[in-house]
């Protein structure tokens, strides 16, 4: 009984939370609203790819293809049938999510089958190829608008649906890992021969992971199509797959928490950098000297931190102080080198807009994180209330 009460309360809470996000989003301008929607979609994409890549260990880098299948199928159906269906927009959107998920699941099955015979980089190449096949096929299909894109009518925008899908995706993956059913997925990742010898049907596990993961991506695609009202094959180019993969790897392969947080962080970071303003309201610019100083500072800081952590024998506290020292030292180096270099007139006068450097900064963030923590920010850890309370107790124990 208690179980069902908690269950119902958490479902109601999740739905309420999603509508609360929608409420907040409506008070913001269009640009912020779009960011909130994209963050939700990327959370869904990253967590669903994490199911295939991180949990089941099938290295897939064509996730944008499933996203695209969902988007185009729902876009096509909306254009053709919305008028004659006479359904309320929200019901129609829900049906489109299901249709997108189903279509992507079929695509996932098609890609999942070669995964039975291929491993690692070979599978990666197949999924990459599949992604390109879908994109180029759509580009050359006049009925889908070709490379001009497809106008999706009607445009139905629902922040709550986007976040509900994200929450559902997280919940499904978390449930899988909480029950014994998740273990065969992990076992297949660890050792296929051994899992097969233990009676695990490896074929079934891999195909289930592909179907589930791609279905979520397809549903996300349907929501994107109806939100944007216009989709082109370029929306689903190869780099989208790589961004999603980056989110999974950066968050910690296999960690749902990591995927969620890095998906939100990475979808926001470039937009944040794009929007940086100086005190006068114009775009924030840096002089050439400062930019070079930042590069020097980051490289030296990373080198020092890696050196501090390379010696496993150092006590924990000493390493922590070393870390703080290295970061502070980095700022000092930046100031010193920057001031020095800015005395050179040419470097002082060369102005660079930070917004234009955003992809460079984005890439550099990734490189730095991978150098300092190659297993991903969360590694294989998950958020749990137990963990929070332990952390709290440990903090209290240390002060007492």
């Amino acid at each position: 009984m208690k179980f069902w009460i908690i269950r119902i309360l958490s479902i109601v809470g999740a739905i309420g939370g999603c509508f609360a996000i929608q409420g907040i989003a409506h008070t913001q301008n269009d640009y912020t609203q779009r960011l909130i929607i994209l963050a939700g979609l990327y959370v869904t994409l990253a967590v669903s790819l994490n199911l295939i890549n991180g949990i089941t260990g099938q290295f897939s880098i064509g996730h944008a293809a499933f996203y695209q299948v969902g988007a185009y199928l729902s876009g096509f159906l909306s254009v053709r049938f919305f008028q004659s269906a006479h359904l309320p927009p929200m019901v129609w959107l829900f049906c489109m999510m299901l249709a997108g998920a189903a279509a992507a699941a079929v695509a996932g099955l098609v890609v999942g089958l070669p995964s039975l015979r291929l491993k690692g980089d070979y599978l990666a190449i197949v999924t990459l190829g599949f992604g390109e096949i879908i994109r180029i096929q759509v580009q050359n299909t006049p009925a889908l608008g070709g490379s001009y894109g497809l106008n999706v009518e009607p445009k139905i925008q629902s922040t709550a649906f986007v976040w509900l899908l994200a929450v559902l995706c997280v919940a499904v993956c978390r449930n899988l890992l909480k029950t014994a059913h998740g273990l065969p997925f992990l076992a297949v990742r660890e050792d296929e021969v051994a899992s097969s010898a233990m009676g695990v049907n490896v074929t079934r596990i891999k195909v289930s992971a592909f179907i589930l993961g791609s279905a979520f991506a397809g549903a996300a695609g349907a929501l994107l199509a109806s939100y944007e009202g216009f989709i082109t094959p370029a929306t689903f180019a190869m780099d989208v797959s790589f961004i999603i993969l980056t989110m999974v790897v950066l968050g910690g392969t296999g960690s749902i928490t990591g995927s969620v947080i890095s998906a939100m962080f990475l979808s926001y970071l470039p937009e944040y950098l794009r929007g940086l303003k100086d005190s006068g309201g114009g775009p924030l610019t840096l002089s050439g000297g400062t930019v070079i100083a930042w590069m020097v500072a980051v490289v030296t800081t990373v080198a020092v931190i890696r050196w501090i952590y390379s010696d496993g024998g150092r006590p924990r506290l000493q390493r922590f102080y070393g870390l703080i020292g290295a970061i502070v030292g980095g700022f000092v180096v930046q100031l010193a080198v920057g001031t020095g270099l800015n005395h050179i007139n040419k470097l002082h006068d060369a102005k660079v807009e930070v917004g234009q450097l955003r992809m460079v900064i984005f890439a550099m963030t990734l490189i730095v994180l991978m150098l300092l923590r190659p297993q991903g920010v969360f590694a294989h850890h998950e958020f749990s209330w137990n963990w929070v309370s332990k952390l709290f107790k440990r903090g209290k124990g240390a002060t007492a």
Partner: protein
């Protein structure tokens, strides 16, 4: 009736005949040894029985039904489970989780029930974990149940592999060099453990081992392979004095 029967099982890899017309049969409750010098085809025999390879010719029967060429996961469900010579644990999983994977083939709830976290799958998870804990007690690993399996010592990893295989509830347990890398004390414990597995859990055991003292003490019947061919079969006392076996291990007298 014999629980496992190999009838002229043969496998060729290109020109190499790895196992050539090997026939032997195990009765229920046997402690059976499979020995031979390196490269004799012992592990290949295991791979044939557990469906990793399909024999080029010949048949394998389990409880009277042919299992030749059946996929490994189905063979595990029929009741044959094995350990591996080069330990193949699920390294990132905890000790307990490794054993739960073994017991998972008895699950009844579907994937949907797990994805929606229904009470059925939660109860089943609890039951599988409790069963796994019982098995860990048999192999003396209950203290380290929540340790990552890759962090265990070598001897413990070997014992965990046995527990994981036992979790599938097999009638026939195949152990591939269970004592390799163990010290004499650990070997002594393993010996007792394997006897206990047979006597108390009613499993038939077929094992590959290089340590002659271990095999001679433990097994009641032994088959000797050399270069893929069966060269002797019988109780340890007979094997020990068989001139062919001595020749295979030590070479011919000059």
């Amino acid at each position: 009736m014999s629980i496992l029967e190999l009838n002229k099982a043969t496998i060729r890899f290109g020109g190499l005949v790895a196992v050539n017309e090997v026939s032997f049969s195990l009765n229920k409750g046997d402690l059976f040894g499979l020995i031979g010098p390196n490269g004799a085809g012992k592990t290949t025999c295991f791979n044939l029985i557990t469906g990793v390879y399909k024999p080029t010719s010949g048949d394998i029967f389990f409880n009277g039904t042919a299992i030749t060429g059946t996929p490994s996961n189905k063979i595990a469900k029929l009741g044959i489970c094995r350990t591996f010579q080069n330990i193949r644990l699920f390294k990132a999983l905890s000790v307990l989780e490794n054993v739960v994977v073994g017991g998972f083939l008895r699950h009844e709830t579907g994937l949907f029930s797990a994805l929606t976290y229904l009470p059925g799958s939660i109860k089943e998870t609890e039951k599988l974990r409790a069963d796994a804990m019982e098995l860990l007690k048999v192999v003396n690993l209950e203290q380290v149940a929540h340790v990552r399996s890759a962090d265990l010592s070598y001897g413990m990893q070997r014992r965990l592999e046995i527990a994981r295989a036992m979790a599938t509830g097999p009638e026939l347990l195949l152990l591939d060099e269970p004592a390799a890398g163990m010290n004499p004390l650990e070997k002594e414990e393993l010996l007792k453990m394997v006897r206990k597995i047979r006597d108390e859990h009613g499993m038939t055991v077929l094992l590959i081992e290089h340590d002659m003292r271990f095999v001679m003490n433990l097994c009641e019947r032994i088959v000797v392979l050399d270069h893929g061919e069966e060269i002797a079969q019988g109780p340890p006392s007979a094997i020990r004095n068989d001139p062919k076996v001595i020749a295979a291990y030590l070479g011919e007298a000059v």
